[in-house]
Amino acid sequence: MSTALLHQETLSAARIRPDFERQPIDASAVGDVERRLGLGERLLGNEGFRRTLLLLALALLWEVYARLLGNPLLFPSFTETVQAFWTDLWSGLLVTRVLASLKSLVLGYAIGLALATALTALAVSVRIGSDLLSTLTAMFNPLPAIALLPLALIWFGLGTPSLVFVIVHSVLWAVALNTLTGFRGVPETLRMTGHNLGLKGPRYVALILTPAAFPAILAGLKIGWAFAWRTLIAAELVFGVSSRSGGLGWYIFEARAQLETSRVFAGLLAVILIGLLVESLIFRVIEARTVQRWGMQR
């Protein structure tokens, strides 16, 4: 008691705060502690919904601007583009063009991935392999695939092999570089955990490194896909003419030659739509099932 008094005197300026205990106050006024959000709030929380809304707004903007401009030869409206798109889709022309493009694309992408896997596997297993990959990537990554087209024409002539060649070039370095970066970023503790179990060589790469580096690998796959798609359309614009069944690039080129601007736009729309579809259907799903579920990416 006396010590308490003494304490009080020395801290006379401080407020006296008595100890207390009490029952928690009644919280029933809040209602349910966990309440379901309203429909509007839930919709706004949905990314798909927000993105659709954004797309609709952009389409509207396009339509309004084109109508104001009133020059379909230069800038067709959204409805005209969609019309041209539907017509060619139903006639089957667009479908064959898209399929022709996708065929070379998938082939090139697959070969590119296989080569990237081989190069990165070499790079993680021996030091000289890592040097080789770094050097090759530094040399070839900045080289635009289109710049290799003349060479491809000399080597493979007109047609699918040339397309595949330039696509492989555009996919390979992006994927290999990203995968190697991912492998290098795998935490030491995780590596040691793998070694602790006696994992070595291909099993170590497959069971530890690849899943641990998956965010970077996936980013590489996406970039590789975009590069491949771009390269393909550009290459087809240049020489799709000779291959008997041209691709999308050739479709656009043809439409331009006939001054059917709405079909040029329809071709571009197809390129964009396929890009969006692959992004949202394939990569999104992979992302949601892997890196997001694993908490490696938000």
């Binding site: 995780l190 040691m192 955990t193 899943p211 694993w294």
Partner: protein, 269 residues
């Protein structure tokens, strides 16, 4: 825990004259110098020392991640040549769990990857191990949803399920908050009560060493050399207040921080 009776006399892990060096970009660092130790079956062997005494490096060498420049480490009389599942390591960092596997699959993975247990047996063992660390409810959850202490428990369960000859723990509780740490220490001890595994435990906390350990190897810093080896089997959380506990704690404190002259009390013992 009245226990010399529990300790088998067979040495399962030993090191003789272990000198460890590692390279940094600019220096060659000698981490330990001629360290000897003997670990018996069911020991809770603690390697204690201030930071820079090479205790973690020593544990890594026992794990096989680093080869001694001099001397050798033997397990079951076989020279340690590289990492292996007979010495499961529990690291200090939380990221030792594989983020792409659920808790259950994290525990299953070592058993299946090493081929030591398969199929139903592996699954039963994994469930049993998770049950022992009280994480059954979380077996289908991914590691990023767990707290630090829970991740540590998964890592311990994962190591235990494989039934290694020795469990190597590198400051496993250092990154936890004080309350969780104490709980984990108690859990580790009660697990040991059930299973009597052999564990090597690195720490820089004197209190933790005395409570968790049954024998303490005290290392001196720069480079790590053996300063003392002490038995502490009779101490646990129940007798922290005991003067003998304080005495031992003080003795170790002196061993660690008084450089130069050997303290008189050690000469007596």
């Amino acid at each position: 825990m009245n226990g010399t009776a529990w300790r088998g006399d067979d040495v399962i892990l030993s090191g003789s004259g272990v000198t460890l060096q590692y390279k940094t970009p600019n220096h060659l660092v000698t981490a330990t110098y001629k360290v000897d130790f003997e670990v018996c079956q069911s020991d809770r062997y603690v390697i204690l020392g201030p930071s820079g005494c090479g205790k973690s490096t020593l544990l890594k060498a026992i794990g096989g991640f680093l080869a001694p420049v001099e001397g050798e480490i033997r397990i079951h009389n076989q020279r340690v040549k590289g990492p292996g599942p007979d010495r499961m390591m529990v690291f200090q960092e939380f990221e030792q769990l594989m983020p792409w596997k659920t808790v259950l699959n994290n525990v299953l993975f070592p058993m299946i990857a090493t081929g030591k247990f398969r199929g139903r047996q592996a699954e039963e063992r994994a469930h049993a191990a998770l049950d022992k660390v009280n994480l059954t409810r979380f077996s289908n959850v991914y590691p990023h949803m767990l707290s630090g202490g829970m991740k540590m428990r998964v890592a311990i369960a994962r190591a235990m399920a494989l039934e290694p000859d020795v469990l190597l723990m590198d400051e496993p509780f250092a990154a936890l908050d004080a309350l969780t740490r104490r709980k984990m220490q108690e859990e580790l001890l009660s697990l040991w009560e059930q299973l009597r595994f052999t564990v090597l435990f690195v720490t820089h906390s004197i209190e933790e060493a005395i409570i968790v350990g049954s024998r303490i190897l005290v290392l001196s810093p720069h480079p790590g050399r053996v300063r003392a080896e002490l038995g502490c089997e009779c101490f646990h959380y129940g007798n922290v207040e005991n003067p003998e506990f304080g005495g031992l704690s003080k003795r170790i404190h002196n061993l660690l921080f008084e450089t130069g002259q050997m303290p008189a009390e050690e000469a007596h013992s």
